[in-house]
């Protein structure tokens, strides 16, 4: 059984993440209207929001500690929030500010918070091998920390993922692979890119347990992840979790989803893991006033982060030459050295 406190804590993460994405959407569109120009506004570049994915983040990360490593793909915010990444500095990073997690160099697809061992990569499935490596480090050091690699269902046909399964299984490494199956890889429905209905089936061929969670029910994810993270932590090797989630927004901001049937979009709105979890909390005796309070607290946290981030300075142009190497070797092997 999953206790009320746990459910409430997941609920907090999820409403924070949802509200965060909704607010980022608004901030992103600032300066991009009426004509949408990707390079204009408060947040330029691509922005991939994860509304509808929250259960996969909260349900798994509930089992993680700061020492545990998480790698996320191009759609990382909900996972970052559940992993405890510093929200104001993450927001400052997304806004390209000097005090952002990465001094404005990374942006929303490349968030690094070493305090909670969170990292991401914008290249499909390429977060998997480094997660395997973090797990390898833990194993070699006899530490019981684990690593979790998140990826989309569109990423499961990429060599980096498949090779990682084998390497993790071979060394019984403490890794959990979490596939967030939102049915779409940009405009490509899952049937267009693989014949395999759920990725958990692939685990078998790598001698690894694979578990499918058919609904984005945070409690169900939590339970599946308890086993998976527990196995890893106990030295019993990796697990593949395949979690059904729903993409409530476009692939990236500006995606009009012309390719997407209305019913599919409606279904994503209807099947809301957050509402489901609110019902669970109500069953545990949490009343609507309390739920409201949780939501308000989350919203305040998000607003504070955004407000703080907006006030942060942009980096100075010459900062661009720093940080290629940590030892201060000149940025430019060719430039004005």
């Amino acid at each position: 059984m999953v206790g009320a406190n746990t459910i409430q804590s997941m609920y907090e993460d999820m409403v924070t993440a949802r509200y965060y994405e909704e607010r980022l959407q608004e901030v992103y569109l600032e300066g991009k209207q009426p004509a949408f120009d990707i390079s204009a506004g408060t947040i330029p570049g691509e922005l991939h929001l994860a509304a509808g994915h929250e259960a996969a983040a909260a349900g798994v990360c509930a089992h993680l500690r700061d020492e545990d490593t998480v790698t996320a793909p191009h759609r990382p915010h909900h996972v970052a929030i559940a992993k405890g990444v510093d929200l104001p500095r993450m927001t400052a990073e997304i806004l390209g500010r000097e005090t952002g997690l990465c001094k404005g160099k990374g942006g929303h697809m490349h968030l690094f918070d070493p305090d909670v061992n969170f990292a991401c990569s914008g290249i499909i499935a390429q977060g998997c091998p480094p997660a395997v490596g973090a797990a390898m480090a833990a194993q070699k050091r006899n530490e019981d920390s684990v690593a979790v690699a998140y990826l989309g269902e569109g990423a499961v046909d990429q060599g980096a993922f498949l090779e990682s399964l084998n390497l993790a299984a071979l060394h019984d490494l403490p890794v959990v692979f979490v596939v967030e199956d939102n049915d779409w890889a940009i405009s490509m429905p899952v049937e267009r890119v693989t014949d395999v209905e759920n990725t958990a089936e692939r685990a078998d061929g790598f001698d690894m347990p694979g578990v499918r969670v058919d609904h984005d029910d945070a409690v169900a994810v939590y339970e599946a992840a308890r086993d998976a993270v527990g196995r890893a932590r106990d030295g019993n090797g990796p697990t593949l979790l395949d979690v059904q989630v729903h993409r409530r927004m476009g692939h990236f901001m500006g995606d009009a989803e012309g390719y997407r049937p209305d019913e599919d979009q409606e279904r994503a709105q209807r099947l809301d893991a957050i509402e489901r979890l609110a019902d669970d909390l109500r069953e545990h005796g949490v009343d609507d006033a309390e739920l409201n309070e949780i939501r308000e607290t989350a919203e305040e946290r998000v607003e504070d982060a955004i407000e703080w981030a907006r006030d942060q300075p942009e980096p100075a142009p010459e900062d661009a030459y720093e940080n290629v190497f940590v030892d201060g070797t000149a940025a430019a092997s060719g430039g004005e050295d």
């Binding site: 290249i123 890119v193 942009e314 142009p317 900062d319 661009a320 290629v324």
Partner: protein, 343 residues
Amino acid sequence: MSKPASDPGTGGADRELTMSRAMVDAVAAEMRASDDVFYMGEDVQDYGGIFDSTEGLLEEFGRDRIMDVPISETAYVGAAVGAAQAGMRPIAEIMFADFVGVCLDQVYNQMAKNTYMSGGAVNVPMVLTTAVGGTYNDAAQHSQTLYGLFAHLPGMKVVVPSTAYDAKGLMHAAIRDDDPVVYMFHKRLMGIGWMPAPEGPKTPVPEEDYTIPLGEADMKREGSDVTVVTLGLHVHRALEAAEELAGDVDVEVIDLRTLVPFDTETVVDSVEKTGRLVVVDEDYQSFGVTGEVTARVAERALGSLEAVERVALPDVPVPYSRPLENEVNPGADDIVAAIESIK
């Protein structure tokens, strides 16, 4: 067939097209002409290509010839290699050039080498299309051009159009070419609704087919004082810089258009005239295009060369934040400064 941008197309009657429309125009014409041509890529069907590279093709050619593929670049780029060796003329798209790292082996050890390794017994008539470039804050993994990487590895031709007119002619040439051609289109030039292009790339484009031979650079502006050699987006930034300096410095702007084969003659002739060379590139500076252009000139026209400057990405990954990306991606102002420093 090569025409200066100042008078592109075959006459005033030509429609003006964006670069993406011109590119698609050529693909469509080649697909009509031969069933052997087909297109594979991610989001090329219903989406029409994230950067409009296949916009409208699905309707005419259907899902067997405009194929969405799994996010398995190694598998589908390699499948294009196999299909090309079997006599078809596939076009495979890597959504961003930045992603070539997941499939480089198929690109450089198979596609580019099979012809040579077989002593010409087989050939690989395929086109590899890919979007390049920054300027919209997409950060280190989605903003590279990697021109130098592709051009360094032998066995593939490398094309970089800067205008709609060139885009069409180069695409016809690329598809008809019996060798593998990498066709690198700059996102900022495509004329995509959500990524406004500068003025230059939209040009008149003839309805009829025409090819631009691979290996011919194009003088986009004549001048007598300084030669600026560049490609892609930076052709337009160089032209902007040239306009800004007009009256003061008479700048010649050469658009390389293809990196492999390389048109050494046009570049050297120009420097022999002007004596001054500025090489401008959006790729990383070291071990890339700017070094190669400089070395070719130094080898062949050292006596004429009075000064040389390179303006390129200063060997840093592309940073996200606006002031940082602006700092490292050469602007017209940087080109002006480089020209002025040696004029």
